[in-house]
Structure formats: structure tokens, C-alpha cells
């Protein structure tokens, strides 16, 4: 039985395809339509939304709160994903390769569990951990971190963006660690042996063997975690709700608040969501292209 063209094949595909088209693709397009109306959850806009063209987009581009949420999201993504998760993930992956070190599996399991427990639970426990009388402040006091300028405080209130960023490193590092571990496994050992014979230092080996051979994995990792981190909602939402005020208001939280809090401007929120959709789409297409073309 070889692969053959058949209507049966298409019929078998149809149910799954129909569900995805109806509940994912159609709503996405509907969202674009909604973004050009004054739809809202209450009032006139609720019963009879009116077509208003690109007005929502024009208002968005004049909305300083929208720009603020963008900059919050960019800071959150750059520091928690691009720097935090990649650096820490790489350090962890290198650590896991050391055969002479004991207790690695405890660390790996802790990193893994932080990644898989339900997001709401993660946000809930960080809510206590980072509070004024939480364990974090006790650790800061015990380790005398005030000497480094880190003072105990109500982290969620006074340093909300810093706190959700660090919490997201805690949450997401496992993925990069696993990805880099796999990539390191694929580097043949003889390269290291040969370079040792040539008298290379461990830094040289890292710089001239590990890093270049890891580059494709790092690129894959960067694109994927950028997509994911840009759309993070739950854990920061549970921890700070975007506040105090709008100080930790990520793009996703901004959309949620525009739509589900007064004045319930759904059309406006849909415009912000559409921009998010387009941005993500560009990244995903980049990801697919990179995967298909290989690494050049």
C-alpha cells in the first residue's frame, strides 16, 4: 500500500480541520472584522456595532497606555526570555554534561517541575513568595543581600515588572535547558579531544567549538521563546494583575483589561489583538522558514 491520492484521505481530515477552522481560524478573522467596529460588551456598541474603519487603530497609535504596554512586554521578553532563559538554560545544559558533579538530577527535576505545574499555581505561590513577609525577603536578609543593594520590600508592589520578569525566568528556563542539552549531545566528542591536544583552554573550547555548533539551536530557541513570552498572560496576571496601576501591564493584560473591564471596548481590544496576531505571524513564518531552509 503506497501513498496514494484519495478522497478518503480528505474525508478523514475534515472533522479535525472543521473544528480548527470554526473555532480558531474563523474567530481570528472575525477579530479583524471586530477591530474595525465600535463593538463593546455594554451599551449601544453591544447591540449594534457600527463599522468605523481604521479608527480603532488610529486611536491605538495615539494611546500612550498601549505604547506603555508594548514597552513593558519588550522589557519582559528581552530580559526574561532572550537573556534570562537562554543564558540560564545554556548554563544548566553545560552543567548537566559534567560527569564529575553530583546532585545534578535534583536541579534538573526542580527546573522541570517549575515549568510544568499549572500556571495559576505558579502565580499563586509566587504571590506569597514575593510578598512583604514572604520567603524571598527572609532569604535576602539571611544572605545579607542588602550589601549588594538588594533590600527586602513588597516586590509585587514596588518592583512589579522586575518580579514578573524573574518569575518568568524561573517558569520557562526548562525548555531552553532541554533544547540545549540535546544540541550539546550532538556535538562529537573528538572535536574537544583534538582541541585539547592542540592546547586549547576550556574558554577556547566553549568559544570556538560549543558556541558555533550550538548557534542553530540558539536561533530556534530564541524564535520560539520570543513567540511564547510575547503571549504570556496567566502567571503575571495572577501575581500583579498588570498593576499597580499599569506598571506591569503586558500586552496581553492590556487587551484583557480593555475588553473585560469598563468601558468594555471590545472593538478597541480586538484592534490590539490583531496587531499582536500580525506580529506573531511574522515570527512564526520566520520560524518555519528557518526550519525548512536549514541554517544556511
Amino acid at each position: 500500500m503506497k501513498l496514494r491520492s484519495s478522497y478518503l484521505g480528505i474525508i478523514l481530515l475534515l472533522p479535525a480541520l472543521a473544528v480548527m477552522l470554526a473555532f480558531v481560524v474563523f474567530p481570528t478573522i472575525w477579530g479583524v472584522v471586530m477591530s474595525m467596529t465600535n463593538a463593546s460588551l455594554v451599551g449601544i456598541g453591544a447591540a449594534h456595532p457600527r463599522f468605523i474603519g481604521l479608527n480603532n487603530y488610529i486611536s491605538l497609535l495615539r494611546d500612550s497606555r498601549f505604547y506603555h504596554s508594548l514597552s513593558v512586554t519588550v522589557i519582559f521578553t528581552v530580559f526574561s526570555a532572550l537573556i534570562g532563559q537562554v543564558a540560564l538554560g545554556l548554563a544548566l545544559a553545560l552543567l548537566m554534561r559534567r560527569k564529575d558533579i553530583k546532585g545534578k538530577s535534583v536541579i534538573a527535576t526542580a527546573v522541570f517541575i517549575s515549568w510544568v505545574i499549572p500556571e495559576v499555581v505558579a502565580g499563586y505561590m509566587w504571590g506569597s513568595y514575593a510578598s512583604r513577609e514572604g520567603l524571598l525577603n527572609l532569604i535576602i536578609k539571611a544572605l545579607r543581600l542588602d550589601r549588594l543593594g538588594i533590600e527586602p520590600t513588597n516586590w509585587l508592589f514596588y518592583k512589579p515588572l522586575e518580579t514578573i520578569t524573574i518569575a518568568n525566568v524561573w517558569r520557562g528556563t526548562a525548555f531552553s535547558m532541554i533544547l540545549f542539552s540535546a544540541a550539546l549531545e550532538s556535538i562529537p566528542n573528538f572535536l574537544y579531544e583534538a582541541s585539547s591536544l592542540d592546547g586549547a583552554s576550556s574558554w577556547d573550547r566553549f568559544r570556538y567549538i560549543t558556541l558555533p555548533l550550538l548557534a542553530p539551536a540558539i536561533l530556534t530557541d530564541l524564535i520560539l521563546i520570543t513567540i511564547w513570552t510575547f503571549s504570556v498572560f496567566t502567571m503575571p496576571f495572577i501575581m500583579t494583575g498588570g498593576g499597580p496601576g499599569t506598571r506591569s501591564e503586558l500586552w496581553t493584560i492590556y487587551i484583557y483589561r480593555q475588553a473585560l473591564l469598563p468601558p468594555y471596548e471590545i472593538g478597541y481590544a480586538a484592534a490590539a489583538a490583531t496587531l499582536m496576531f500580525l506580529f506573531t505571524l511574522v515570527l512564526i513564518v520566520a520560524y518555519i522558514t528557518v526550519l525548512k531552509r536549514g541554517w544556511g
Binding site: 481530515l13 480541520l17 522541570f112 505558579a122 505561590m125
Partner: protein, 270 residues
């Protein structure tokens, strides 16, 4: 290789890592057995299991039931639909098959926030907003791209020879699939089902947008709602609920850790 004396440094680094990754769990575990649990960190003066007993009564139990219904139903639906689709993708050749695979990748990576807002309006119009059914539908649709990807990679590992042999022996294609391919792919189906189950089980965003009645909430939205009730929060109960709620996810992921690691490795090495 030249020996570098970096062991003490590495162990110091590991101690900091252990602290960073384990410390946030401490309060969750302690407060769940502390009769006087509070948002503050404290060592319990006595230990109780009352919170755990209370989780299985009242509204917290209702939420566990709701989470179970949503996850069981959507995981089963997603598995059924994805088996058909993946079988088709691996056994038939048709125009646009390549494009379809790209399409699944796009859907799988698309932020849920983009979909959930318009679908709330659509579901309100057709009158199914604030029902478990609406949550089940959307969770299924969101799980499907990943389920199909797992299913396809599994069916690809099963040689078509067995099916052919069965068909020569007089089975039609459907029977050959049912008696030969399906039993062989059982581990793959279990994988799809379990991953879909934990995806729906842990989800917060979809039920947050689609449900309004507290009696219909799954555990995730329930925890959020109670956590927001400032002043009156029973943290002991909430922590015990969080732990019970995390157990199915932990069991599934720790069982499938090797499988997941292999899946992620596939992204790194091509």
C-alpha cells in the same frame, strides 16, 4: 583533558540554582498543612490535614469536577479527531499536504489571546457562552494542532506492510486500520490523550473568558477568584487545592519526561 579546579565554584552555583528553583515551593507546601496558614511565610507550629479534607467538599470540589469534565471531554475529542487526521496525513497523498503541516505549526504557536476575545462574542451570539460545552469546544480546537503533529509522527513509525498484509488477507482498509494500525499505535494515542488532558486541565485563559458563573469554574479560575477575595482568603485551603490540582499534571509530565525531552531535541537537531 586538562583538569580545572572549578568544582567548589560549580557546587556554589548549584546551591544558588537549587535555592532559586525550590524556594518558591516552600510556602505552598507548608501552608497547605498549617492550621493558621497565611500569605506570610511561617513554619507551622502544628500540622493538620484538614485543608486537604476540605478541598474535597463544597465549591472547591465542584471546581475539581468541572476541570475533570472539561479535560476528559476535550482530550477524548481531540484524540479521536487527531487520529483520523494523522492517519490521513501519513497514509494518503494529496495536494496541499505540505501547506497543511505549516498551517498546523502556525495554529499551534498562535497566542490564545488572539482567538479568545472574538470567540467570546461569537459564543455569546449563538447562546453557548458560560457553558462547560463552550470551553470543551475551544480547548479541543486549541489542542488539535499539537495532537495531530504527535499523531502523525507516531503513525510514520508504523510500517504500512502490516496493513497491506491484512488487506491481502481480506480485510478492507477500515478493518486493517482497526485491527492492525490502531493497536500498534496505542502508546501514541495515550500520549496524545494525556498531553491534551493536562493542557486543558492547566488552562486559565479560555475558561476566564468564557465562564461567568462560579459554579461552572474549573480549578484554575476558582483559585484566581478566591485569591482575589482580599482579607477573607483561606490560604491553607487554597494551597491544599493547588497541590491536589497539580498532582495529575506532575504525574503525567514526570512519566513523559523522556518523551518530551526527545520531542524538544527534535527541534534542536535537524
Amino acid at each position: 583533558m586538562r583538569k580545572v579546579k572549578d568544582k567548589p565554584l560549580i557546587y556554589l552555583f548549584m546551591a544558588l540554582l537549587a535555592l532559586f528553583f525550590l524556594a518558591p515551593f516552600t510556602w505552598l507546601i507548608l501552608s497547605s498543612v498549617d492550621p493558621k496558614a497565611d500569605i506570610r511565610f511561617r513554619i507551622p507550629s502544628s500540622i493538620t490535614l484538614n485543608h486537604y479534607a476540605k478541598v474535597l467538599t463544597g465549591r472547591t470540589f465542584t471546581w475539581i469536577v468541572n476541570s475533570s469534565i472539561i479535560s476528559l471531554a476535550s482530550a477524548t475529542l481531540a484524540t479521536l479527531l487527531s487520529v483520523l487526521a494523522s492517519y490521513s496525513l501519513t497514509r494518503y497523498k494529496f495536494k496541499g499536504r505540505e501547506a497543511l503541516v505549516d498551517f498546523f505549526v502556525i495554529l499551534r504557536l498562535m497566542p490564545v489571546m488572539v482567538v479568545v476575545l472574538p470567540i467570546m462574542i461569537i459564543f455569546a451570539r449563538i447562546g453557548i457562552l458560560d457553558t462547560l460545552f463552550s470551553v470543551i469546544l475551544l480547548e479541543t480546537a486549541l489542542e488539535l494542532p499539537f495532537s495531530v503533529m504527535i499523531g502523525s509522527s507516531y503513525f510514520e513509525t508504523i510500517p504500512t506492510d502490516f496493513e497491506e498484509a491484512a488487506m491481502i488477507d481480506g480485510c478492507n482498509r477500515f478493518l486493517a486500520f482497526l485491527r492492525v494500525t490502531l493497536p500498534l499505535s496505542l502508546p501514541g494515542l495515550v500520549t496524545i490523550w494525556l498531553l491534551a488532558f493536562v493542557t486543558a486541565w492547566g488552562d486559565f485563559l479560555v475558561p476566564l473568558f468564557l465562564l461567568r458563573t462560579p459554579d461552572k469554574f474549573p480549578v484554575s479560575v476558582g483559585i484566581y477568584m478566591v485569591f482575589g477575595e482580599h482579607g477573607t482568603v483561606n490560604y491553607g485551603l487554597l494551597s491544599a487545592l493547588s497541590i491536589i490540582y497539580s498532582i495529575p499534571v506532575l504525574v503525567v509530565f514526570l512519566l513523559m519526561r523522556k518523551y518530551l525531552t526527545k520531542g524538544i531535541a527534535g527541534l534542536a537537531i535537524r
